[in-house]
Structures are given as structure tokens and as C-alpha cells.
């Protein structure tokens, strides 16, 4: 057991405690960025001028009429930018664009004494546009050869040979939708300048350092003139990893130019029309099985819809390619990836970060092929699980593959799955108008940033003379309970009660050069750094205590607020020892650091070991579908998920449940619709409000919802034996989609393969069950599975294509890259 993962006796980690800010949340006392406006004097409000075109050249811009509106103070345009007119890290996202790249693109910003004045001012700005043709769908982009960025490929084995001798070959395609983050708190920034013109920005950001970087380059100042603080976010989910920077830059620019605080908070409609979302994908695939249903070969081409700029599309695509295997051994595999450039918002990070998109492809394949193979989907899936000694297609050995099986068997047993399968068969045989389905799906998800440099973190631990402890770290709190876990890590390491430790807000002048709080890595990375800082302080205190207690420093133990010599000898209270150390002029604070060891990744070859470890989980979901409407309900969900030795069980179970429901929302309910017609509104997001874009509500919560954390799951080499939890359980929701497919299939003859659109809305389920009633006859628009070799061979990239190195690898050349 490593020093990092080993727990002392009676640790504070592992206790199921509420969120550290729960009492503030429930009373309305917790402050979010926009709440600070009420506590700030003389604030100006920013409002965008959004283009009413999907693609257009800006040929004229007159701000004069806006300035005539009472209360309008200034209009910010490209001419005002002292530094670089760019809001991204790839230099492809002009902050003030001369070319409109998506419907609602902000061409300039109005500052007003009130939000109403700024709004009226934005209506008065006169902009001339020259409309240009637009690419709205991923299929249009493919047809137009409109791509951007790298075209990575993962390849192993001999794919052609895998198909040649195979007993079964199937091919098909699938296009599936993205997802709006819909964090309840929209993007918000509040910028202030001090007496030297230095900028202090409160921002709802998952990546304060990158927000700082972008603000500095827009203002043309060094980073030490810009400080970014994030108190907490009202949800992030990846949507505040890359997207907040431009909004923070607008607020900062306004503050610099006017000398007054500037507040920028997007309305829901602005947020939905301007900020990026989860990537929708198009996938073509061809798969080979042997007679027993073992996967023999997979050939697939994934095209993500990146929207108008690269953003994080490259690393998202890389993660999709690295997760198409999910938990399954595929000996021969070739997966090509490419990023469509379309006139939509710039799609970005979203919980799972491409992993869900890659895994959806293989789960869809297995769900569609199982009936054609005549194998129960539960058996087909478990038959293909990784075994010890096998590696992922990109070369990394799959460690602890048996945990998929442990989770699987536990769900089979506690979920009473086999008996319920029989009950469902009986139910379906006796009910003409409603059918039930029960599906199980596994998750294997790699933890660490693919981009190796991001796998580092810092922390600052202050021990004050009275023994109280203040922890600052580089991670941000967005509801995931990171701060709660960090308090538990600090209390455990220092051997003090939780009440001794307090957390300070995340800010770049306390801990610099932080990574995004993303990739589920917040607790791993920052926990390592907090623990390291605490240990530095303890090493010094150990000397003081050794002298005080007359024993060797290595025989000192810190526990329960007492400092004791080994063997239960004399002890001294923590606060007393700390005070004594102060008078002996011992440094009582420390900066901690952590880097994840053992990672390597070659993004041009898509090969290496990019992940510290894998997280595992299994879900079984039962649904009931109404044959008259396609409406459905989730009757029961059973989950067993591997979070290592949990740092904070209440937090972790909350993460599992929340991720599952969010994943179910993506797969079944949340329906992003862009206007694909030829009307003048072509390219406009049609679902840009809560009234038209529906997230899960209470009615989507499973009626019975059993979540268990896998026992005996210690993860050596991670902080206190824990594992990441934020993203992996989102993908447990594939079980909902597959259960819906099976319930729909039950309306048809046995062995019917059903194509199911994603999201599987009631309408989509209704079309699927209508297909089943026709005996599985395919719907042309969904590309029904083709049975037999050679099938439809996916697009292969041009052999002459130079393998492009993703931008995220160009750190040495000055780019900061993505997750």
C-alpha cells in the first residue's frame, strides 16, 4: 500500500458528512458570483448584441445610437482591445468577431447603469451583415468536407483479417445529439480594478488560471496583474471549463476602460444560444463477432460536431476514441476520428468529455446486434469483458478488469435481475399495450487528463498560531463536494477534528498555475497537493513534538487533535503544540504540490498510458413503455459503482445518482434542436429556454433507486485509496436507453433488432416500437443494421493525410491546451 493511499486509524475521510456549505445552501446564504453585485457599489451591467444570422460578415457597426440611450455608458468593440482579440487558447475565437459564425454570436457588448439600459442600448446598436451560406448539421459538414483540427486514429491488430474469418458481420450508423449543460447558474463574471488598474475578477469558472490567462492576453498585461476568484459555481459539468474566459474578459475590459465594476451575467437564453455544449456525433461502424458473440473486429469512423471553433474538441474526440471499447476486449480495432466545423456554438467539455460519445457507439452496437446474434444482451455484454492481462486499444494495460465482473455480479444478485427478467417476460406476454424492458450496462472510464501536463495541482495550507487551519487549493467547487473532501483530507492528514479546518475560496493569487477542475480529477490532484502541504507542516511539528515528548520525531502520531508518542505515551493537544512551534520560529504553513506519476501519451500515435487508473461501475435499469404514445417511466435502477475507498460516501453517492440522472437526460429527454430548414431562421437554436429544452425533473427520477459503492475497492496510488467519481457514473445511463430499446422490441416478434434515436424521447421510442411492430423493418432515416459481410465500410481518412498533432500537445510552443 502506498503512502499516498494508506489511511490512518479513525480517519475523517470515509465519513459520510453533508456538503461543507449545506447550511449556507439551504438558507440562501451561500454566495454565487452574481450575488456579489448587490454588495458592490457603482456596478455597470453588460449586455451583448447578438447577431440574427448563422453565418455572416459584419460590414458595418454603429454604436452612436446606443450611446444616445439613457443610462448607456459605453459600447465595447474590437477597437477597444489593447491586447489580443481572442477568447480561446487556439487563437480561433475572436472576442469581437468580424465574421458571425453562429446564430446569436455576440458582435459587441453594451455597458449600462442598469441591465435594462444596457439591454435597450444593445437594441439600438446598428450592425450591417452580409449573410453567408451556413453549415448546420454534421451530415452537411461531412458532405462539404468541412473539418477542423486533428484527425486521430486508434488502431490495433489486423482489422481486415478480423472481418475475413468472422461468423457474423454487421454494419450501421448512428447520429446522436449533444447536450446543454444547463447548470442552474448561468455564466457570470464581476470585474473590479484597483488603484493600479490591476484587475480582480470574480468568475463562475472551473478553470481560474485559464480565465486569468485569457483576460491577461485580451488586456495585454502579464498574468500577475490579473487575479481570478471563484467562490463556488451553481453547477459546471464541464461547461465552465473553457467557456467563461471570454465573458470574464469582457467584464475585465469594461472595468479597465471605465474604472468601474462591471457585471456580466448571461440570461438563460443568452447562455443557451452563445455557450458551447456536449458534442453531438455521427458514427459509422462495422463489427465482427464469432459464433459465441465474442467481438472479433470493429472498424468505425466517429465525426464529432465541433461547432464554429476548436475549443476542446480535439481532446474530447481523443477521449471518445479511447472509450469506444468501454469494458470490452476488441482484439482488432480501427477507429478514425474527425471534427466537423459547423455554424453552431463551439461545443466543449461536458461531464464524460467524449467518453460517453465513444461508449454510446459500442453500447448501441451491442444493443442492436444482440437480437440478430440470438444472445441475451446481458450475456453478450459480460462475455466480452476485459480479462486480466489484456490492454486497451491504445496500449494501456487494463488494471483491475475483474472489478467490472464484481460490480456486474453484485447487481445481478442484489437487483434480483434473473428473476425480474422472468417476471418481465411474463408481464410482456400478458400486456398488449405496455411492455417492460430490463438492461444492464457496464462502465470502464479512464481517469486523468489525456493532456499529461494538466495532471498537477497545488495547495496552500496555513496553520495559525491558535491551531486553526486554513486550506486553499487549486480546485473549484461546483457542487461536486470537492471542498468537503479536501477538508476531510486535511483533517485526516493533520489528525485534527474537521471543525479545526476551514476552506478559503479558490483564487489565482493563492495557488497559481492550476489545472481545470475537470476530468473527475479534482479530488485526486488537489487531495494529493493538500495532503502534501499538510505533511510538510507535520514534518516540522514532528521535530517540535519529539523534543517536547522526549521521543524520536518519527515516533510521533497526530490523531484526534492530539499529538502523541507511539505506544500511547504522553500527549499534547494540537493547538498547544502549534503555539509552541510558533515561538520556536517554526514555519507553520506550506505550499503543497502533486503530480500524477506514471503517465505517458503520444497523441500523434494515440498510444500510451494516459490514465492513472480506470473507474468501474454497473447499472441495471427497468423501464415500462406505453405502446399508445411511446411514453415511459423508469421503474427501478440498481447500481454498483467503484469509487475506490470513498473519501466521502454521502458526496459520492450523490455524484453517482446525479450523474446517472444527467446521463439519462442526455440519452432520453434533452433534445437540442437547431433549425435545419431553409427558412431565414436556419441555424438558430430552437430549444433555447427551459420551456423548450427539458431536463430531468422529479418525474424522471427512478421510482426505486438503489446505489451501492463497491466494497474492498482500495486504489493504491490515489489519495487515501479513493477514486474519482464525477464523470464515470453518467455513463451508467446507457442501461436506460438499452432497456427502452428492449421494451420497444417487445412490441414486435422475438429477435427483433430495434434502432433507437438518441435522445430516446417518447416520440423516438414510439417510432422504435412501431418499427418493432413491423418486425424490425428499418427506418430509412436511421440506417438500419446491415447483416452480413462486407457490409458498409466506414469512411477511411485520406492515406495522404498528414497525422495532425492536436493543439493540446503544443504546450511547448505557447499554447495551453485543453483537458
Amino acid at each position: 500500500m502506498s503512502a499516498l493511499s494508506e489511511r490512518p486509524a479513525n480517519p475523517v475521510v470515509g465519513q459520510g458528512i453533508p456538503h461543507e456549505a449545506a447550511a449556507l445552501h439551504v438558507t440562501g446564504h451561500a454566495l454565487y458570483t452574481d450575488d456579489l453585485v448587490q454588495r458592490t457599489h457603482g456596478v455597470l451591467h453588460a449586455h451583448p448584441v447578438q447577431a440574427p444570422h448563422t453565418h455572416a460578415r459584419v460590414t458595418g457597426l454603429r454604436t452612436g445610437p446606443a450611446l444616445a440611450v439613457p443610462g448607456v455608458v459605453r459600447v465595447l468593440t474590437a477597437e477597444d482591445v489593447p491586447g489580443v482579440n481572442d477568447a480561446g487558447v487556439k487563437h480561433d475565437e475572436p472576442l469581437f468577431p468580424s465574421e458571425v459564425m453562429f446564430h446569436g454570436h455576440a458582435v459587441c457588448w453594451v455597458l449600462g447603469e442598469t441591465l435594462e439600459a444596457a439591454r435597450l442600448g444593445s437594441l439600438a446598436v446598428e450592425v450591417d451583415y452580409e449573410p453567408l451560406p451556413a453549415i448546420v448539421t454534421v451530415r452537411e459538414a461531412i458532405a462539404a468536407d468541412s473539418f477542423q483540427g486533428a484527425r486521430p486514429k486508434v488502431e490495433r491488430g489486423d482489422v481486415d483479417a478480423g472481418f475475413d474469418g468472422a461468423a457474423h458481420v454487421f454494419s450501421g450508423e448512428l447520429e446522436f445529439a449533444g447536450q446543454e449543460h444547463f447548470y442552474l447558474e448561468t455564466h457570470a463574471s464581476l470585474a473590479l480594478v484597483d488603484e493600479n488598474g490591476q484587475v480582480f475578477i470574480q468568475s463562475s469558472t472551473q478553470h481560474p488560471t485559464e480565465t486569468q490567462d485569457i483576460v491577461a492576453h485580451v488586456l495585454g498585461v502579464p498574468s500577475n496583474e490579473v487575479t481570478v476568484q471563484c467562490l463556488r459555481m451553481g453547477g459546471g459539468f464541464g461547461g465552465k471549463e473553457m467557456q467563461p474566459h471570454g465573458y470574464a474578459a469582457i467584464a475585465a475590459l469594461g472595468a479597465r476602460l471605465t474604472g468601474r465594476p462591471v457585471r456580466l451575467r448571461l440570461s438563460r437564453n443568452q447562455d443557451m444560444t452563445m455557450s458551447g455544449k456536449r458534442h453531438g456525433f455521427h458514427a459509422q461502424w462495422r463489427v465482427a463477432f464469432d459464433d459465441a458473440g465474442h467481438l472479433q473486429a470493429l472498424d468505425a469512423t466517429l465525426t464529432s460536431d465541433g461547432g464554429w471553433s476548436l475549443d476542446l474538441s480535439e481532446p474530447v474526440l481523443a477521449r471518445a476514441l479511447c472509450h469506444i471499447d468501454n469494458a470490452y476486449w476488441i482484439p482488432n480495432i480501427r477507429v478514425n476520428g474527425r471534427i466537423a466545423k459547423s455554424h453552431k456554438t463551439s461545443q466543449t467539455a461536458f461531464r464524460g468529455f467524449g467518453g460517453p460519445q465513444g461508449m454510446l457507439v459500442i453500447e448501441d452496437i451491442l444493443g442492436r446486434c444482440a437480437p440478430l446474434l440470438g444472445i441475451d444482451p446481458i450475456d453478450l455484454r459480460s462475455r466480452n469483458f476485459y480479462a486480466e492481462g489484456q490492454s486497451a486499444p491504445y496500449g494501456q494495460p487494463v488494471r483491475h478488469p475483474e472489478r467490472t465482473g464484481y460490480c456486474w455480479d453484485q447487481v445481478l444478485e442484489t437487483g434480483d435481475v434473473r428473476a425480474r427478467q422472468a417476471q418481465i417476460a411474463e408481464y410482456n406476454a400478458t400486456h398488449e399495450h405496455t411492455k417492460r424492458g430490463l438492461a444492464m450496462t457496464p462502465v470502464k472510464f479512464g481517469i486523468s487528463f489525456n493532456f499529461t501536463a494538466f495532471n498537477q495541482a497545488g495547495a496552500l495550507v496555513h496553520v495559525y498560531k491558535d491551531g486553526s487551519v486554513l486550506v486553499t487549493h487549486g480546485g473549484t467547487e461546483m457542487g461536486q463536494g470537492l471542498h468537503t473532501k479536501m477538508l476531510q483530507v486535511a483533517a485526516t492528514t493533520l489528525g485534527v477534528p474537521l471543525s479545526t479546518v476551514r476552506l478559503a475560496p479558490t483564487r489565482t493569487d493563492k495557488v497559481p498555475n492550476t489545472s481545470a477542475t475537470a476530468a473527475s480529477s479534482g479530488a485526486d490532484l488537489n487531495g494529493g497537493a493538500v495532503k502534501n502541504a499538510c505533511e510538510q507542516v507535520l514534518e516540522r511539528l514532528r521535530e517540535v513534538a519529539g523534543r517536547r515528548l522526549g521521543v524520536h520525531p518519527s515516533d510521533i502520531r497526530f490523531a484526534d487533535g492530539l499529538v502523541t508518542s507511539v505506544g500511547g505515551g504522553e500527549s499534547v493537544p494540537w493547538a498547544e503544540l502549534v503555539n509552541q512551534a510558533y515561538f520556536q520560529r517554526v514555519q507553520l504553513w506550506a505550499a503543497g504540490f502533486y503530480r500524477t506519476e506514471g503517465l505517458h501519451w503520444d497523441s500523434s500515435l494515440m498510444h500510451g498510458s494516459p490514465f492513472k487508473y480506470f473507474s468501474y461501475g454497473v447499472a441495471a435499469t427497468e423501464v415500462e413503455v406505453d405502446g399508445f404514445t411511446g411514453a415511459y417511466r423508469t421503474r427501478r435502477v440498481d447500481i454498483v459503482h467503484d469509487v475506490g475507498d470513498s473519501l466521502s460516501p454521502l458526496v459520492d453517492i450523490g455524484q453517482v445518482e446525479g450523474a446517472f440522472v444527467q446521463g439519462a437526460g442526455w440519452l432520453t429527454l434533452e433534445d437540442l434542436r437547431w433549425d435545419e430548414s431553409d427558412r431565414p431562421t436556419r441555424g438558430r437554436l430552437a430549444t433555447q429556454a427551459a420551456s423548450t429544452y427539458k431536463l430531468p425533473s422529479f418525474s424522471e427520477m427512478p421510482e426505486v433507486f438503489n446505489v451501492a459503492l463497491l466494497g474492498r475497492a482500495h486504489e493504491d496510488g490515489a489519495v487515501y485509496g479513493s477514486k474519482a467519481v464525477g464523470e464515470p457514473p453518467l455513463m451508467l445511463a446507457f442501461s436506460v436507453r438499452e432497456a427502452l430499446r428492449q421494451a420497444a422490441a417487445a412490441f414486435g416478434p422475438a429477435g427483433t433488432s430495434v434502432d433507437l434515436a438518441s435522445p430516446a424521447t417518447p416520440e423516438a421510442v414510439w417510432w422504435a416500437l412501431e418499427q418493432a411492430r413491423r418486425g424490425g423493418a428499418g427506418q430509412p432515416e436511421h440506417g438500419h443494421v446491415v447483416d452480413g459481410a462486407p457490409g458498409i465500410v466506414p469512411d477511411q481518412p485520406d492515406a495522404d493525410d498528414r497525422p495532425l498533432r492536436p493543439h493540446s500537445e503544443l504546450a511547448a510552443q505557447g499554447s495551453t491546451g485543453g483537458a
Binding site: 456538503h19 456549505a21 449545506a22 447550511a23 445552501h25 439551504v26 438558507t27 440562501g28 451561500a30 454565487y32 450575488d35 448587490q38 454588495r39 435594462e116 437594441l123 449543460h181 442552474l184 447558474e185 451553481g234 453547477g235 459539468f237 440570461s267 438563460r268 437564453n269 399495450h433 405496455t434 461546483m478 457542487g479 415500462e624 413503455v625 406505453d626 399508445f628 404514445t629 411514453a631 417511466r633 458526496v651 450523490g654 445518482e657 446525479g658 440522472v661 444527467q662 433534445d671 429556454a689 427551459a690 420551456s691 423548450t692 427539458k694 430531468p696 425533473s697 422529479f698 418525474s699 424522471e700 427520477m701 427512478p702 421510482e703 433507486f705 424521447t761 416520440e763 414510439w766 417510432w767
Partner: protein, 499 residues
């Protein structure tokens, strides 16, 4: 009445001045401007509930008060004049949590915390509901609905403590997946005898004082009585009539609409009548849907099927039955039901009342026969209602969604024969319509599977459904076609649990 001073609202027990507030300012922004930033804006259109607060409203059946949760983002701040409001900050403090807050905190009911104050207010209103009572047999055996009516709630949507989960149907959480919030709600006991908010419910609510507020964007006036309202309407043709403001609030927040003159009619006594006669039930137009549900006490089963599907509890607490007809929307949920019930709209003007059958009321997309000088005073439903009634709503989400197709059925089936059929449709034309051809295909014929199938084919061709982001035209037509089959399956055979 003074135009610009003397406007007072009691917030968390303390008096606050509304003077200087513009009529376009909503209650949420006003509260936040007072430094009460607990309530949040999540959507500004009454869909997410992050702005939920409690207001003291009449209990509808006696002289008491009910703490009623509403969306502060939709309510004009001006409408709060003379009222009492409670926010999450008023319920408790971090050192002294309210029982609702304590359950939410210890059970992991908050993650990011942004939606939490709104959840707390919605949950607290249900916590204080006087007729919420513990149900024997635990949550799995619970079947009665909490809201006084006979709403067909599922057992798992009512807690062993009588907590109606639909009370939270207008609150969205993006983090938790809801399970811990449900557990918190179901763990609540009864309020302590010393609880001041529980005690407050025994005394009358604040009167709906007449008020007038003049701001830069226009005037908000709430008259005390109907004649005065009609006078203002005659004086200001084109004035916006505001009742629950659940539609107008969206116009203001999302589309930038500003009313030069708005008339608050939500508390006019003449519009808040409820009369039950032998051959008609009259519902005052300014009764909220929650009040209608409570007052009807199951007399109109078709409406009891409708109520839980109408938006959310937060919206039903504000939205009025008259308002849903006043907007003239083709996708309002009450018109298909009221068409099937052959409801009559009572329009009032200075010249007196006139009655218009609802079937003649809608004239075009968001257009009706209501003249500029008229307002809807009441809705009359002929009694007794038909023997076989149902409300089918097709939407993506079961709670709090807008119909892609809505169907109201009212069939009189006597001796196995359809004596009379009235079917109202929403979402398939520019206005709510009657399915006249289908009605004709049913009347006088036996209520058999074959007849249902034949009539269903007729019904599939009713209206002129279109494609939009809610549903495709073929799906809408298909749903028209299956609705009758579903009704037949549900009424002609022992009930099967539908999804």
C-alpha cells in the same frame, strides 16, 4: 390611491417599501435588490423554480391563510403591495435551520446549492399545507393525493407523511438526481405548535389592497372591484390584464415586453367566485388552478386528470383558469378539457356580461372573440359531466412540460353505446379545436374496439399538425390516432397501469 409612495410589503416579517419600483421589475429582482439573494434566477420563465418564494394567500375555503409557493421571477413586484413574502433566508439561518432546511442539508439534498433555496420554499409550503396528513402503510401503500382533490397520483409520488411530490414539480435540480430531495421531503414531520409560520395560517391573509404604481416603463394598477377594473379598461384600451402573470411575466422577462398600462385583476372579488348549481359549476376567472382543484373536490374528474399535468404546482399556484383562456394559446392545457366539457366563457364589460361557448371563443392564433373592453369573468361547466372522461397529454416530460398534443375526452356511454361524444384537441391547429368528425364517427355507435379503431382513423386526420421542436407532424397525427384507442383500452377493460 397614491401613485408613488406608501407601497409596503412584508418580507420575512419586516416591512419594506416598494416605492420607486418600476412595474416591469419582477419580484425576484426586487427581492435581490433588497439584498435577499437567496432566491435565484435560473430561467426567468417559471420553469426551474430557483426563484420560488412563499406568499400568504387566502386558503380559499375559510378565513385562513395558506403559505403558497410561487415563481418570484414571473410576479410583478408591484403586485406584492400589501402582501407578505417569505424567502429561504426568512425560514431559518445557518445556526438555526428550519426543519425543511435541516432535512435538505443532512440528506445531501444540495450539491451546488443554486436551486436549493427555491426547493426549500416549495417544500416548506407543502410542509405547512394544513390538510397534509400522514398516510398509513408507508410510502408504498400511499394512494391518496394531497391536494384535496382526487388527482390520480401514483403511490410513489406521495410520502408516508402525506407529502405530495407534485409540490416540487416546478423545481429543477441539475446535480442530485432528486432522490435525496425526495427523501428529505418524505422525512418531514408536522410543524411544531410554536412554529410562527404554521400559526400565521390560522388568521386571514393580507387583503388585496388596491394599488397603483407608476414607473418609467408604465403603470401597474390593481383596482379593488370589477366596475373600477372595467372603467380602467375602457380608459386604457389595449391595457394588459394581469392575473397570475405566468404568461405575461415570460413576455416581460424573455421578450422585453413592457406594458404602458397593466391592470392587476387577480384579486377582484367578482372574479373569485365559486358556485355549484344543479346544472352548472361556475369558476371565477381569477381562481388559480390550485384553488380550482381544491374547490372542485373531484366534481369534475376530467379536470382532476388535467391538474397534475398542467405545468407545475408553482405555476398552478399563480396561473388562473381565466388566464389560460385569455392568452388564447393553441397549446394551453385547459382548452381541450374545457371544450370536451362544453364550457362557457363569461365575458364582462361595462355593458354587462355575455356568455360565449368555448367552442366559439377562439378565432385564430392567439385571437379570440374577447373585445378590448372585456375581461373574462368566469368559466361555466355544465353539469353533470359525461360518464367517460379522460385527459391525455403528449409531452417529452411527465411533470412541468408543454403539450405537443393534448386531448380532452367526454363521452356518454349508455348501455354500451356512445350517446354523446365531445373531444377537445390542443396542439394540432392554430387554435384549440373540437374533433367534430371523430365525435360524429362515435355518436350513436357501440363503444367497441372496432368502432374505436374506425373513429381513431378519423381522429388521426383531425387538425393540421405541424413539425416543431416538441414533436413531428407525423407523431402528432399518430398520437391523435392512438388517443381514442388508449381511452377505449383503459375504459373497456380492467385498468392496466399506463406509462
Amino acid at each position: 390611491m397614491a401613485a408613488n409612495d406608501g407601497h409596503r410589503v412584508t418580507v420575512n416579517g419586516a416591512p419594506c417599501s416598494l416605492d420607486g419600483t418600476d412595474p416591469a421589475t419582477n419580484a425576484l429582482d426586487w427581492l435581490r435588490g433588497q439584498g435577499l439573494t437567496g432566491a435565484k434566477e435560473g430561467c426567468a420563465e417559471g420553469e426551474c423554480g430557483a426563484c420560488s418564494v412563499m406568499v400568504a394567500r387566502p386558503d380559499g375555503t375559510g378565513d385562513g391563510t395558506r403559505w403558497t409557493a410561487v415563481n418570484a421571477c414571473l410576479l410583478p413586484a408591484a403586485a406584492l403591495d400589501g402582501q407578505e413574502v417569505v424567502t429561504a433566508e426568512g425560514l431559518g439561518s445557518p445556526d438555526a435551520l428550519h426543519p425543511v432546511q435541516r432535512e435538505m442539508a443532512v440528506r445531501g439534498g444540495s450539491q451546488c446549492g443554486y436551486c436549493t433555496p427555491g426547493f426549500v420554499c416549495s417544500m416548506a409550503a407543502e410542509y405547512y399545507r394544513p390538510d397534509r396528513a400522514a398516510v398509513d402503510g408507508g410510502s408504498d401503500g400511499a394512494s391518496t393525493s394531497g391536494q384535496g382533490g382526487a388527482a390520480p397520483h401514483d403511490a410513489h409520488e406521495c410520502g408516508p407523511n402525506g407529502f405530495d411530490l407534485h409540490a416540487l414539480s416546478g423545481n429543477l435540480c441539475r446535480c442530485t438526481g432528486y432522490r435525496p430531495i425526495r427523501d428529505a421531503a418524505y422525512a418531514l414531520g408536522a410543524p411544531e405548535a410554536s412554529d410562527p409560520y404554521a400559526a400565521r395560517q390560522a388568521s386571514p391573509p393580507p387583503p388585496a389592497a388596491a394599488t397603483r404604481l407608476v414607473g418609467t416603463t408604465g403603470t401597474y394598477a390593481r383596482p379593488a372591484e370589477l366596475p373600477e377594473a372595467l372603467g380602467l379598461l375602457a380608459e386604457h384600451p389595449g391595457a394588459v390584464l394581469v392575473a397570475g402573470s405566468t404568461d405575461w411575466g415570460v413576455e416581460v422577462n424573455l421578450r422585453g415586453s413592457r406594458a404602458p398600462y397593466a391592470i392587476g385583476i387577480d384579486r377582484l372579488p367578482e372574479l373569485r367566485t365559486f358556485e355549484v348549481g344543479d346544472d352548472v359549476v361556475e369558476l371565477g376567472a381569477a381562481l388559480t388552478l390550485t384553488e380550482c382543484e381544491r374547490l372542485l373536490e373531484g366534481r369534475v374528474p376530467l379536470l382532476d386528470q388535467l391538474f397534475p399535468q398542467f405545468a407545475s404546482r408553482l405555476i398552478r399556484n399563480g396561473a388562473t383558469i381565466g388566464g389560460n383562456l385569455g392568452t388564447g394559446s393553441p397549446i394551453g392545457d385547459t382548452p381541450p378539457a374545457l371544450l370536451a366539457l362544453e364550457a362557457v366563457v363569461v365575458l364582462a364589460s361595462a355593458a354587462g356580461d355575455r356568455e360565449v361557448p368555448l367552442a366559439d371563443y377562439f378565432t385564430g392564433y392567439r385571437q379570440t372573440v374577447r373585445r378590448d373592453d372585456e375581461l373574462i369573468r368566469a368559466v361555466r361547466i355544465p353539469m353533470p359531466v359525461s360518464t367517460t372522461t379522460a385527459f391525455h397529454k403528449i409531452a417529452k416530460r411527465r411533470f412541468d412540460d408543454i403539450s405537443s398534443v393534448a386531448v380532452g375526452f367526454a363521452l356518454d356511454v349508455r348501455d354500451g353505446v356512445v350517446a354523446k361524444a365531445r373531444i377537445g384537441l390542443g396542439g394540432v391547429a392554430a387554435t384549440p379545436i373540437r374533433a367534430l368528425a371523430t365525435e360524429a364517427a362515435l355518436e350513436g355507435r357501440p363503444w367497441t374496439t372496432d368502432v374505436a379503431r374506425e373513429a381513431a382513423e378519423v381522429m388521426a386526420r383531425e387538425g393540421t399538425p405541424m413539425d416543431d421542436h416538441r414533436a413531428s407532424a407525423p407523431y402528432r397525427s399518430a398520437m391523435l390516432g392512438t388517443a381514442l384507442l388508449k381511452l377505449h383500452a383503459q375504459t373497456a377493460t380492467p385498468q392496466e397501469v399506463g406509462a
